[in-house]
């Protein structure tokens, strides 16, 4: 049977992708950011997952204001990197895992999470930046990826509690899949940041720390946070952090925090990263 072996939480700042793609990783500003992900690359080399489920948000790339799905599961065989206005990132095409994705879709829909199924989707920095941080710049990504897009652009996004419970349903789905696959789930986005309006530039490290501490514990504080609290305390776009709760929900009630990294800033954003393993 498939097994969920780890949870990754990490930010997905577009400037990180641009720094990588434009060869700026050795500049001191960026060394500070990228050095925080060396340990993660090592963890992945040892963990050798067969599939990664990446919970991310689309930034007006695949989804315009024509259709805004709250949760959209990528069931395609591959996903092309999108042109977000600067030209597509020079990263490998993302290979999907249509069989496991279809199984997850059926399982969670039967569990009353009414996902949108996506059979064609270009993926933006929200998905590709976390892959770059974990895997560097390979010719091909090391394993198939199932994208799960969460609406955090049009208010309101799903609640943190809903995200957490969806994670639980995904765990159940994964572990009822008959093939022996090692699966890692990513919750991406955040941490505190605001990139719009006169209050842009807001960072709240104390909030970010409390959030990460909660995820390392039983997540009860984090999952009950209200949208208005995220926006007021962690910036309008800080609300992306609800996506970390999908990953946390997919893990055991108890987790072992294998690694944590936090730095301010990358461009406009506080960068946070955690590696969690199940602990019963």
């Amino acid at each position: 049977m498939a097994k969920l072996v780890g949870g990754i939480c990490c930010s997905h700042v577009p400037a990180i992708g641009a720094a990588l793609d434009n060869g700026k990783t050795q500049e001191p500003y960026w060394t500070r950011v990228f050095s925080g992900f060396e340990k993660s690359k090592e963890w992945f080399r040892e963990m050798k997952p067969d599939v990664c489920i990446v919970v991310f948000n689309d930034h007006a790339t695949a989804f315009s204001m024509d259709i805004v799905p709250t949760f959209a599961l990528g069931c395609a065989a591959e996903f092309e990197p999108a042109d977000e206005g600067w030209g597509p990132r020079p990263v490998p095409v993302v290979q999907g895992h249509p069989e496991l994705a279809a199984h997850i879709a059926q399982s969670v829909i039967n569990d009353e999470f009414d996902l949108t199924i996506v059979n064609k989707m270009e993926v933006d920095h929200g998905l590709t930046v976390p892959l770059s941080l974990m895997f560097g710049q390979p010719d091909a990504w090391p394993c198939p990826v199932i994208p799960l897009a969460v609406n955090v652009v049009l208010f309101p996004p799903p609640s943190g509690k809903r995200c957490f419970n969806l994670g639980k349903a995904i765990r159940k789905a994964v572990e009822s899949y008959p093939e022996d696959l090692r699966v890692v789930i990513f919750g991406t986005g955040g941490m505190s940041h605001q990139i719009s309006g006169p209050r842009a530039g807001l960072i709240n490290s104390a909030f970010d720390k409390a959030f990460m501490d909660s995820l390392a514990g039983d997540a009860s504080y984090a999952k009950d946070l209200q949208h208005v609290t995220y926006m007021r305390e962690a910036g309008a776009e800080g609300i992306e952090m609800v996506m970390w709760l999908v990953a946390r929900g997919a893990m055991d009630a108890k987790v072992e925090e294998k690694y944590r990294f936090y730095t301010v800033p990358a461009s406009n954003t506080a960068v946070g990263h955690m590696i969690l393993e199940n602990a019963g």
């Binding site: 204001m65 977000e84 206005g85 208010f155 719009s196 530039g201 807001l202 301010v264 461009s267």
Partner: protein, 140 residues
């Protein structure tokens, strides 16, 4: 600054967050044309056509006069006030060769250098910036 309140509806709980445009369903309905225009900028030939004649290009989206003006004059906050969303208007920024950070800086009224410096020093503190009352006291 935030979305215009609809008569007889209770004030939105997030209306008190200062310096922030919450992109909700009301804003999305109001700004559909702005965001539809910005989406076209994902394609390089459209970016070229827009740059060649901005006013002419904008005619195809059913924008209001004030929306058109905000786009042509690159009034970044005004675009959000009129229903634009930052992830969409950032594509206009990209077309102009601006990064997210450069667009963000423009909305704060700070210089690019001043904004970048603030970020390097840990960003804008949440202290004094949680509510409109605090914000107004601080910013006069």
């Amino acid at each position: 600054m935030a979305s215009t309140a609809i008569p007889n509806t209770p004030q939105k709980e997030y209306a008190d967050i200062p310096g922030t445009f919450v992109f909700d369903a009301d804003q999305s309905a109001k700004g559909y044309a702005i965001n539809a225009f910005c989406m076209t900028l994902l394609k390089a030939p459209n970016r070229e056509a827009f740059k060649a004649n901005e006013a002419e290009y904008l005619k195809q989206f059913g924008l209001s006069e004030e929306q058109t003006e905000a786009i042509l004059k690159r009034q970044w906050n005004r675009m959000l006030e009129l229903g634009g969303n930052i992830y969409f208007t950032a594509k206009l920024g990209a077309t102009d060769g601006l990064s997210f950070q450069q667009v963000a800086a423009k909305m704060t009224g700070m210089t690019q250098e001043g904004y970048a410096e603030m970020m390097l020093k840990g960003g804008r503190s949440v202290e004094g910036n949680r509510t409109r009352t605090e914000w107004e006291k601080k910013n006069g």
